[in-house]
Amino acid sequence: MIKVQNLRKVFRVHKREPGLTSSIRALFRREWIEKVAVSGSTFSVAEGEIVGLIGANGAGKTTLLKMLSGIIHPTSGEARVLGSIPWKRENSFRTQIALIMGQKAQLWWDLPAADCFLLLREIYRIPEDRYRKNLGRLISMLNIGNEMNVQIRRLSLGERMKMELIAALLHSPRVVFLDEPTIGLDLTTQRAIRDFILEYRAELSPAMLLTSHYMEDIQRLCKRIIILREGSIVYDGSLRRVIEEYAPYKEILVHLRRGIGAVPDAEDLSRLGDVVECSETQVKIRAPRDRIAEAANELLQRFSVADLSIDEPEIGDTIERIMAGRPEEPR
């Protein structure tokens, strides 16, 4: 449903030098520097898929979404969304997509949500019965009551975001772009919105492209992620594979009974894996996945173990390392 090939966007920004004289010179002549926001991305998204776009601020996530929703033109490259070129903005294309931005209100600020929805019905030419059905369903999914008749600007951030979601999905788009939909919301509302997105997908299976800085969003919603660094895709694949490929280890944490049995020796234990921590009461070892059982076994046999746990590495840490450009585990 979304096909992107070598998509590239370069912005021109003016170079600014300090000092009054150079400022005055800049009134007449100006130097420009090019800033690559997205450099040659290629990927595709299928129906019913939720793909997480991850990257630091300025990595090009929003620019990518803006190009795919047709708001801005790329510098070069191609993209097809539902078979159309987004930035041609054909009506047949625009009636089938939606863009939701957590950072930017899209609804009419001084109208109650109910009025906004009526206007959107008119804009998207949604037939009356379908409009009623969709609205009813969305309202019950998001658990909205009489906030419908309150001016948007008087709603809380969480309520407003729910309204934005309804507004964007009223016309049952087949492709949905979500740009940080949970930003700034409290945990309960975040969860409500995540559940809603999953439920919505189960019912209508649109293609979704989601950006978020919250790992929780990504883990709950996306089976597949794309990681961007300075405009380039550095990873595109399943969330599980990130862990297997970039974090091929697990951590064993052992609490020891004080004063009983052998005292652990870091150098000795390094045969099993990387020793993260080693004291009289606690040992933490990072071992390759295929040798984890063996290592645990040995620890249990050699020491008087009070408690033992095996943990997956934090997925957020792994992704953060990839985003920062150092995918290997620091030694």
Partner: protein, 270 residues
């Protein structure tokens, strides 16, 4: 063009204006009264100090009627405020949401602009009625019910023309950071050259013949003269056709600005 959507957008804007607080309406009335006072004293002084009985073909009651009419129609034609909606959309990035909708952006904007017509028109009619009640209609001026009705379409076309004229300066916002000054500039130029400050027949002959070839005349001067019954039916039709022609020309001129600007629109922020 979808009339249903147009009316819906327009009615939202109209309802918004009607929902403004009373003090807003009171101040707009005060403004109109003040504007009229300034006109009144100016022309009174002009006639007294020059000692002439007509100035530029106008008698004192005639020129005062003209001033009343341009203050009443001018607000409708300008749509109240400065025309800044498009440029604000561009640099605040709210253009993005309109680009997502399956309808043309300018269609949206004009519908919103047109939403201001009804409240302004009602207000102007009320003010006009009040003035007629207090002062009556001067006998020197051939203003009739027909001439007032004839003025209505010219005012609506004037409203469209003013919107069209404001499009290009606003589209400059794609390249510049702030185009407020261009909107103000447009206002100055249209006020002076369109007859919003004084009747165009006060200009020297040569200037008048140049102004006749410009679009500005259809903003204030023409509708006011139609309302005063100073225009024949043939001239009325011709004037409306010409002002529509100017709407078309400015629309065509705006196309390349939109095409090029939209290509490099960033939606604000990366």
């Amino acid at each position: 063009m979808r009339p249903g959507l147009f009316i819906h957008l327009m009615s939202i804007e109209t309802r918004k204006l009607f929902s403004y607080r009373v003090d807003f309406w009171v101040t707009t009335v005060v403004n109109m009264v003040v504007t009229l006072i300034v006109f009144w004293y100016l022309w009174e002084a002009m006639f007294q100090e020059s000692g002439a009985s007509t100035i530029g073909g106008w008698s004192l009651p005639g020129i005062l009627t003209y001033s009343v009419l341009i203050s009443l129609s001018g607000r409708v034609i300008r749509g109240g405020d400065l025309q800044m909606a498009i440029s604000t959309d561009i640099y605040e990035g709210s253009l993005s949401r309109f680009l997502l909708y399956p309808s043309r952006y300018f269609f949206f904007k004009y519908a919103q602009q047109a939403g201001a017509v009804l409240p302004e028109l009602l207000q102007s009619i009320a003010m006009g009625a009040l003035i007629v009640l207090v002062y009556g209609i001067p006998t020197e001026v051939p203003v009739t019910a027909t001439s007032l009705l004839m003025a209505l379409p010219t005012i609506l076309i004037g409203h469209l023309l003013f919107f069209m004229l404001s499009v290009i300066p606003q589209l400059v916002a794609f390249w510049a950071e702030n185009v407020w000054s261009l909107s103000v500039l447009l206002r100055f130029i249209t006020m002076l050259l369109g007859g919003g400050m004084l009747p165009l027949s006060l200009f020297p002959e040569w200037a008048q013949s140049i102004l006749a070839w410009m679009p500005f005349i259809y903003l204030y001067d023409f509708p006011a003269r139609v309302a005063m019954g100073l225009v024949t039916q043939a001239q009325w039709l011709e004037g409306m056709l010409l002002s529509l022609l100017w709407c078309g020309i400015t629309a065509l001129l705006a196309v390349p600005f939109w095409r090029r600007g939209e290509l490099q629109y960033t939606g604000v922020g990366i």
